[in-house]
């Protein structure tokens, strides 16, 4: 047990929140502005940054130096250049996390040393690690990463009467992301069955629909295209979000933007009426896109919609009545209302933190692999070794063979993602396996094993069944890793062979360094992905 205080953090694309266990209760930390902190950083100058609500308010005056939605860029090599300084996505995330930690420290009047941070279920390994890194930069130890739907399920399970098992579906529609997850809850055991999502679908799309509506009408009525006017567009966007939120409570409202433009003919105002029905018509397409994903997830979990005991809504956008209606229509079940869609993720993270600090009775969480892990075979074909939705920890092996006669080395590239073309997926590492016994092509039998332990660390090993040679590697947690052959000379030699075509009687065949030919393939006959050998007796 750690001695310091530990909190739960929902680091969101649009809003973040922090919660903790206080006595017998799990509470959201409030600050001067409220319970949520917009995930926005606005740089005033080198020494002053505004974070959260104050940044949101200041953003219009300082658009170039304001960063929103940094969560979208976690794990990418994007850089934000502000006042001649460069910031990585983790740096910006760290500023927001630091603010949350400060708020929590002020709230309890004690130091906070550790946190559990939530990430979207679809986040790949690199994105998860970028989040851990952000926590470290904010000066805390990230005790564990849990997924947002698991956190929501923990929050739900916490309030629920103990006892019987139930299956829940978590539908999370936030500012820019959509996630659906199915979990099974039992006394003390939370088991994720399947998860799916779209990282480019959410409330921002709804705002955009209203923006389009305004711009189009203004164009028709005034003959002016507002899209070239950045300041006007900024105002329209802000107003659109407010209008959208109003329409969750009201059937009709007015879009009012005074002095939207001023020119020699005077000033122009916007004053349009908009009804909820109109708005629903606009967003229908976007919401409909979530439905197939819900059913895919049910399918992946091997369930029918009737098997779902509870539908839990998470994320600000699920407050839209039409969203609730669509879900109810397709799942035949009224979503559960006694849980706050804005806060349950942070509360769930705090519960996980409470379990860690032993303030809350132990629960076991078994999560799943969000995106397939595999290697490339033949011509850039992604061959999956650990499929999506595999329960973690996990270990799985497959047998591969060589493509060239007397090949003694293969390069094993590790990819994560759903594309059939390996190179379109996220690369996690590249390793050279040498010491394969010289055999004609397709004869060697090389077993490649992927293992993910409880801490989410991926370990890759390879074994040639003929020579008995075995090697293993741990995939580093901060991005692409590569291990060259033991002696670097080998590699030079091989490069030479490749460039000149002279082989020096060297039987070692090409490695994939620069060629587009992979030298790993499935052996004929014993090659079959995803299914498991059946016991026949």
């Amino acid at each position: 047990m750690g001695n310091g205080n530990i909190v739960g953090i929902d680091f969101g694309t649009t809003n973040s929140a922090v919660a903790l266990v206080a006595g017998n209760e799990v509470v959201i930390v409030t600050n001067n502005y409220g319970r949520l902190t917009p995930s926005i950083v606005s740089f005033v100058d080198d020494n002053e940054q505004l974070i959260g609500f104050s940044a949101k308010n200041y953003a219009a005056l300082n658009p170039e130096r304001t960063i929103r939605s940094v969560k979208r860029y976690m794990g990418t090599d994007k850089v934000f250049k502000i006042n001649n300084r460069e910031y990585t996505p983790s740096d910006i995330a760290a500023i927001i996390i630091k603010k949350l930690i400060d708020d929590a420290q002020e709230y309890i009047g004690e130091k906070v040393e550790e946190a559990i941070i939530t990430v979207p279920a679809y986040y790949n390994d690199i994105q998860r690690n970028a989040t851990i890194k952000a926590g470290k930069k904010a000066g805390i130890k990230v005790e564990r990463i849990i997924t947002e739907p698991t956190a929501a399920a923990l929050a739900y399970g916490f309030t629920r009467t103990q006892g019987e098992e139930s299956t829940i579906l978590v539908y999370d529609l936030g500012g820019g992301t959509f996630d659906v997850t199915i979990l099974k809850l039992q006394e003390g055991f939370f088991k994720v069955l399947a998860t799916d999502g779209d990282s480019r679908l959410g409330g921002d799309d709804f705002d955009q629909k209203i923006v389009d509506f305004i711009v189009k009408r203004f164009q028709n009525e005034e003959g002016v295209d507002l899209r070239t006017n950045t300041l006007a567009m900024q105002k329209i966007l802000e107003t659109s979000e407010k209008i959208k939120i109003e329409l969750s409570d009201r059937k009709t409202t007015e879009i009012m933007i005074p002095f939207i433009i001023a020119d020699s003919n005077g000033t122009k105002n916007i004053n349009y009426k908009i009804t909820r029905v109109q708005f629903e018509e606009m967003i229908k397409d976007v919401i409909s896109r979530t439905v197939p994903m819900v059913f895919n997830t049910l399918n992946a979990a091997g369930l029918e919609k009737e098997d779902i005991d509870r539908v839990i809504l998470v994320g600000g956008s699920t407050k839209i009545p039409f969203v609730q209606k669509i879900i109810e229509m397709h799942l035949g079940k009224t979503p559960y209302k006694n849980i706050n869609p804005d806060e349950c993720v942070a509360l769930g993270a705090a519960i996980a933190a409470g379990i860690k600090s032993q303030q809350i009775k132990k629960s076991i969480i078994r999560d799943v692999l969000p995106q397939p892990l595999g290697t490339d075979i033949d011509d850039d074909v992604m061959d999956v070794i650990l499929d999506r939705n595999t329960p973690l920890p996990a270990r799985h092996s497959k047998i591969y063979t060589t493509t060239e006669d007397f090949q003694t080395e293969i390069s094993i590239m590790i990819y994560q993602g759903t594309s059939k073309n390996a190179s379109e997926n996220q690369i996690l590492g590249e390793y050279m396996f040498s010491g394969i016994e010289k055999k004609p092509a397709k004869v060697p039998s090389i077993e490649i094993t992927f293992k993910i332990d409880v801490n989410g660390i991926l370990n890759v090993s390879a074994k040639d069944h003929d020579s008995g040679k075995e090697m293993d590697w741990t995939v580093k947690r901060d991005g692409f890793t590569k291990s060259l052959p033991e002696e670097d000379n080998n590699r030079k030699n091989t490069d030479f062979v490749e460039r000149t075509g002279i082989s020096n009687n060297d039987t070692r065949m090409r490695i994939t360094e620069s060629g587009n030919k992979s030298n790993l393939s499935l052996p004929p006959g014993s090659n079959f992905p995803t299914t498991t050998n059946r016991e026949l007796q």
């Binding site: 098992e165 099974k184 039992q186 003390g188 055991f189 088991k191 091997g302 076991i364 969480i365 078994r366 033949d378 011509d379 074909v381 329960p391 920890p393 996990a394 270990r395 799985h396 092996s397 497959k398 047998i399 039998s445 077993e447 332990d453 409880v454 069944h465 393939s521 499935l522 052996p523 004929p524 006959g525 014993s526 090659n527 079959f528 992905p529 995803t530 299914t531 498991t532 050998n533 059946r534 016991e535 026949l536 007796q537």
Partner: protein, 222 residues
């Protein structure tokens, strides 16, 4: 921690072979919970639990397959092996597949009475339908796999009979020690089979110990 030494999926899961999928899921969840490494504090216990968990996962997948699947055709080998007094296992599987262009399982037989020595349990040895194959339709080959048999047991010879009555006996075979299968290839392009002559009703004859023989019909469609 109770360790399970058996490899039989149903024994690992502690359930009868007759359970429903729902009962299987319930038993599985219970074991996942019990053997989750987070339940243990010492490193060695955690390690043992993790290993057990992998075994349970694997058993679950196998058991699920078995419960879900219905044997395709049964009883073909029954009579042939009557004379054999070595111990036999009830079932082996013969799969005839094609590859190149369109890859698919053409026919799958469950054959009773083949002695099984090379039995492998677990995820290490995947099998099933190959869905992708980087070959063109011009390099189609058929292959027949006999899974779960003892390679010392048979003198096996395979004859492929095309829809036009041609017989092909050139065979490369390979014993795949990891899946415990005999694999027989039939490279049609080597035999000069024209693409259009490929489609129709085929037969594969399997000769055992030089005298016994079975015939398995299958069809290749366009």
């Amino acid at each position: 921690m109770k360790k399970k030494t058996t490899d039989n999926p149903f024994e690992v899961l502690g359930i009868a072979k007759t359970v429903t999928l729902k009962e299987l899921d319930r038993a599985y969840a219970q074991l996942e919970f019990t053997y989750h490494p987070d339940n243990y504090s010492s490193e060695s216990e955690k390690f043992e639990a993790e290993e057990m968990l992998y075994k349970i996962d694997c058993a679950y997948r196998s058991a699920k397959e078995i419960i879900k699947s219905e044997p395709v055709e049964q009883g073909i080998f029954k009579n042939i092996l009557k004379t054999e007094d070595k111990p036999v296992t009830p079932k082996a599987e013969v799969v005839i597949e094609r590859s190149g262009g369109k890859a698919e399982i053409l026919k799958s037989y469950i054959c009773e009475g083949i002695r099984k020595k090379f039995f492998f349990f677990g995820e290490k040895y995947p099998s099933g339908i190959r869905t992708e194959f980087s070959g063109s339709d011009d390099e189609v080959y058929l292959y027949l796999k006999i899974k779960n048999i003892d390679r010392t047991f048979f003198d096996l010879r395979i004859e492929w009979i095309s829809p036009f009555g041609e017989s092909f006996q050139y065979i490369t075979n390979r014993f795949d020690q990891f899946t415990g299968s005999f694999i027989f290839y039939c490279w049609l392009d080597l035999f000069g089979v024209k693409k259009n002559n490929l489609y129709g009703n085929w037969k594969v004859k399997i000769y055992f110990n030089q005298k016994e023989k079975i015939e398995l019909p299958f069809k290749i469609s366009q």
